[in-house]
């Protein structure tokens, strides 16, 4: 292993925030003499990547293996990558400052479509050929995973293998398989092929796309790759001694995952579909891991994370116990993105003790009809009650998330967002003592609907960008101004997300062309250029606007048909039809099975820690 620190250090004097590149944080595990080296990469800056909980979970799992070193890699900011190229310094890992190309395996999570060019940037900086088939015997295996693995095709060409689903056990199996292949002296091709024998692992080189658009295995690889699911989240402790960054990272706090999965069934939400079933961790484990984590990290804030934390059947008990244990320590407890209908008075009181972290709600749509069509299952009364409770409990700011361009949306639905915000503001004002009304703020963040694989809206097209912009203007004009901070996600970025979220294998050439044209950090608005992407995609034969807007045949082939998320196509189709009729479907953790197919298909079951959930 070559430590390149001597070559890195001189560059640090000329770049922003050098703390990103120096390692030596609290909690770092260094195993320079290990026989096998794993690099785990998050394809964005240190500040964004260090907030990723999956990497912490996987690093903690790898640390249980003897003789295995796990090292972190992030994408150097543009000033650093320019300096590295100018001085021929290759991409390095943080822990041992070793060139990434010298690792045995490089694991890359794919959190969203706007990080795709960062993956290519990293491979290029590392000196690893971009396309899997161009790599030689000495290059590390490049293995992907994360949310975007549910439609891996646009990135398939750049990966030797891609894991679909939970990584706690699968990653260890991948490492064991690769180590066995190395010990047996197998070639790269044979080692990669062996990975295809692991449940949940997709080896793109073993599949071809037919003229009908269907992805099929070339030989004995499985016809469909079935998503890995960890049946019981409590099998492993939540990582309690993660690396504590010095730099001000995005979510700079201790985190404990309280449950995985969400079966509320919002029809636009990929996470809610592909992380089923709901698996709660018991209160005892949550409190134990939270206290251990605060003690080990020294953080001043604790976040109880999941897709829908307020749904946890024992959340009030957990908060009460944590409040007792943390009294007088100045420690804040936060719960990300609360569901409006589960924000109760006791919950408001429990979260309001100590420091008040931000409060975020996601009504998603302004009208009841559209909320029913997307299966949000929240009434306006519930929204206003939650706001009243929050402001009565002392909050003075609330953030609301909405979406425009949802299937079946009309102009009336868009202006209904403004009307709802107006009533939210009035409710907040009424619950705030007159002397404190000056600091009252309602932040409204509006994104554009992106159709995602394995959701009931996977066949839908995205609204054309001109129409998105017209509706944005309409909403801005209708929105009350006083006390409301309105922001829109860039419609151009959403268009690109739609193309890549829907895309097949042919999109890889577009991603590569965009990177060659200079696209990197596409999630950072100052670096994103829709024109550059449109041109790059056109060079790959893709008309971006038309591709994003195209609605697909609900019985035809989809580029991700070979990825089995456990959801039955009939369920997704039925849900799509119910959307047209604005019919809602209940959450199976509160009532009857909805027949989504996941539990019987993947051999798992819903795990509710308290035995029962209260709606």
């Amino acid at each position: 292993m070559n430590d390149v620190w001597e070559r890195v250090e001189p560059l640090l004097r000329q770049v922003e925030r050098p703390a990103r590149y120096v390692d030596r944080e609290w909690g770092v595990v260094r195993r320079p003499d290990a026989g096998y080296h794993v690099a785990l990469m998050y394809p964005d800056t240190y500040e964004v990547g260090m907030a990723n909980q999956a990497l912490q979970v996987l690093a903690a799992r790898l640390s249980t293996l003897d003789d295995v070193a796990c090292e972190r890699v992030f994408i150097p900011w543009v000033d650093m990558s320019a300096a590295m190229r100018a001085h021929e310094v290759p991409l390095f890992t943080l822990e041992s400052c070793t060139p990434v190309a010298e690792m045995d395996i490089l694991g890359i999570t794919l959190p969203n479509e706007l990080t795709y060019t960062n993956v290519l940037e990293a491979l290029d900086l590392a000196g690893i050929p971009l396309r899997a088939h161009d790599r030689g015997e000495t290059h590390p295996l490049v293995v992907g995973g994360g949310p975007c693995s549910h439609n891996p095709e646009p990135m398939a060409a750049f990966f030797d293998a891609i894991l679909v689903g939970d990584g706690e056990e699968a990653l260890l199996e991948i490492v064991a398989s690769h180590r066995a292949s190395m010990a047996a002296g197998l070639s790269r091709e044979e080692s990669v092929r062996a990975l295809a024998g692991i449940d949940g692992v997709y080896v793109p080189s073993l599949y071809l796309v037919g003229d009908d658009g269907v992805v099929r295995p070339v030989d004995d690889a499985p016809a469909r790759v079935t998503r890995r699911v960890l049946a019981d989240l409590d099998t492993y402790v939540s990582p309690t001694c993660p690396v504590v960054p010095y730099a001000d990272v995005v979510h700079d706090r201790a985190t404990v995952e309280v449950l995985r999965g969400c079966s509320r069934g919002c029809r636009f939400c990929q996470a809610g579909m592909v992380y089923r079933p709901v698996r709660e961790r018991p209160a005892d484990s949550i409190v134990r891991d939270a206290i251990a984590s605060l003690r080990c990290t020294g953080y001043e804030e604790l976040s109880l994370t999941s897709l829908s934390t307020a749904d946890h059947s024992q959340l009030e008990e957990v908060l009460r116990r944590l409040a007792n244990r943390l009294e007088g320590t100045g420690t804040a407890i936060s719960v990300p993105s609360l569901r409006l209908d589960s924000f109760t008075v006791p919950l408001a009181r429990l979260l309001g003790d100590g420091r008040k972290a931000g409060l975020t709600f996601a009504p998603e749509a302004g009208s009841q009809r559209l909320r029913d069509a997307i299966n949000k299952n929240i009434t306006e009364e519930e929204i206003l009650t939650a706001v009243d409770q929050a402001f009565t409990a002392g909050w003075r700011r609330v953030k609301l998330y909405f979406m425009i361009g949802l299937p079946t949306e009309t102009d009336e639905d868009v202006t209904a967002i403004a009307a709802l915000v107006e009533r939210v503001f009035a409710a907040a004002r009424a619950a705030t003592p007159p002397g404190e009304r000056g600091g009252l703020r309602v932040a409204v963040s509006v994104s554009t609907f992106v159709p995602k694989a394995h959701t009931p809206f996977q066949w839908d097209g995205q609204l054309p960008i001109e129409e998105v912009r017209r509706r944005q203007v309409m909403l801005r004009q209708a929105m009350p101004r006083k006390g409301v901070e309105l922001s829109f996600h860039d419609a151009g970025s959403s268009l690109l997300e739609a193309v890549l979220a829907k895309g097949g294998r042919e999109a890889a050439a577009g991603v590569e062309a965009a990177w060659h044209a200079g696209a990197v950090f596409d999630a950072w608005s100052e670096h994103f250029s829709l024109a550059r992407w449109t041109e790059a995609l056109a060079s790959a034969g893709i008309d971006a606007a038309a591709y994003a807007a195209e609605a697909r045949d609900r019985h035809g082939a989809l580029p991700w048909d070979h990825i089995d998320s456990g959801l039955s196509p009939a369920f997704l189709r039925a849900e799509r039809e119910r959307a047209d009729r604005a019919e809602t479907t209940a959450d199976c953790t509160f009532g009857d099975c909805t027949g989504c197919g996941v539990c019987p298909g993947l051999g798992v079951d819903v795990v509710v820690a308290g035995g029962e959930r209260r709606g």
Partner: protein
């Protein structure tokens, strides 16, 4: 009336961690105090925070051998126990050097610490004699003008430097030890002084070796 026990910690910021900013260093120490389980006091109000205050900021890239922070404890903990606890709770590069209690009525570190001692290491190829001549020449001018954030700023050396800089030489590597007076209007950065004396881009490493309180009896250490 200030209450509680005011613990003063003298610490390093060295090795790779000299690339931390003042804010990053501060956060690291607050977390170390939590990890060490110190009975720290918290502020009252909407967002309770640890009661901790730091000495003058050290720029990104500059190392420090004796930096200071004050933290208010709600009960007395023996000094040896504090130092051991903190030492085991923070990276080696930020290790505590010394701890002690000071009067809760003591003015803040930032207002009391007015003299900084630096060691500036230069790249090979600057002979000590030549360096000595350049520094003497600059000192004799009495002051110099430099551009800072687009504005011209004049440094009166009699005010900015309370003592003549000294040239040191170790195995062919030249270094300068200098003392800078810090005030509410900022202070002369060693890099600025060195580039005025020998041209830009020459220092390879800057270390703040000591911080002093200036009073009638002379320069005293804060601990």
């Amino acid at each position: 009336m200030a209450e509680g026990f005011r613990l003063r910690v003298c610490f390093r910021k060295a090795g790779r961690l000299r690339y931390l900013s003042h804010l990053e260093t501060g956060r690291a120490w607050e977390r170390a105090a939590r990890r060490a389980g110190l009975p720290y006091a918290v502020t009252q109000g909407y967002n309770p925070r640890m009661k901790v205050a730091f000495g003058p900021a050290l720029p990104v890239g500059t190392a420090g051998m004796r930096e200071y922070l004050d933290i208010t404890l709600t009960r007395f903990v023996p000094v040896a126990q504090v130092q051991e606890g903190l030492g085991a709770s923070i990276a080696e590069e930020l290790a505590p050097v010394e701890c002690g209690y000071v009067s809760p009525a003591e003015p803040s570190l930032a207002s009391r610490l007015t003299i900084a001692e630096y060691e500036v290491e230069l790249e090979r190829g600057v002979p000590p004699q030549e360096l000595e001549r350049s520094l003497d020449a600059l000192m004799r001018t009495g002051g110099f003008e430099t551009e800072h954030k687009g504005k011209q700023k004049f440094f009166d050396l009699a005010v900015a430097l309370p003592k003549e800089p000294e040239v040191m030489s170790d195995a062919g590597r030249a270094a300068v030890r200098m003392w800078v007076r810090m005030g509410p209007h900022g202070s002369l950065r060693p890099e600025t002084f060195m580039s005025a004396a020998i041209g830009p881009g020459r220092p390879v490493a800057v270390t703040r070796t000591e911080l002093f309180i200036e009073d009638e009896q002379g320069w005293i250490r804060p601990l």
